[in-house]
Symmetry: C2
Subunit: 112 residues, 2 copies
């Protein structure tokens, strides 16, 4: 019924960013990973909101980082992919691959 059976667009990006920084990534660094790769500039709030949703769904797991930041601040919350998260990523990838299969962009949107 719900739409919650699939990954939204931004959820995919965040999940991939978590994968790229497995176990070491936290809010800020994940935001940066996305920015560096895509040029998008999501607000930090968006990232956390999505991260929280992904954790609720069991696709991601978080734990408090040891507090040894040298330079002050609140303890980091590190994220890691769960097996379910990895599976969701593979599933969405498979779906999109099928949708793209045979796509011919030459002349798309041509003569009206």
């Amino acid at each position: 019924m719900g739409k919650g059976d699939f990954l939204g667009e931004f959820e995919q990006m965040v999940l991939l960013a978590v994968l790229h920084q497995d176990r070491t990534g936290y809010g800020m660094s994940i935001r940066q990973e996305i920015e560096a790769r895509t040029g998008r500039d999501p607000s930090i709030g968006s990232v956390y909101a999505t991260l929280d949703r992904l954790e609720e769904k069991g696709l991601v797991h978080s734990h408090q980082g040891a507090s040894l930041p040298e330079r002050g601040g609140r303890a980091r919350r590190h994220f890691a992919l769960t097996p379910e998260g990895a599976a969701a990523l593979r599933a969405v990838r498979r779906m999109m691959d099928r949708m793209w299969a045979g796509a011919d962009m030459r002349g798309a949107g041509g003569e009206v």
Copy 2:
């Protein structure tokens, strides 16, 4: 501000289905294309809602089909990709490729 600068997940799928059936596709057939390729079973209402949104954004163009259906019913509304739609598709593809680049799923979600 809005999120509307990018393509949502389902918007991507619909846009690709339109591409695959360029100029001949209409609500029902587009729904089927998605189902056939991905196994998803979106309601027809979802498809039209998304198609309308895409047309508003100028990514898709629609026109009434000639009424020669042999077997009664309302006239079909055919869809085609616009140049902007093709560009949006290429853009989202590029973004996702960058997010996936170097993704290593081996052992992802491993030892907790």
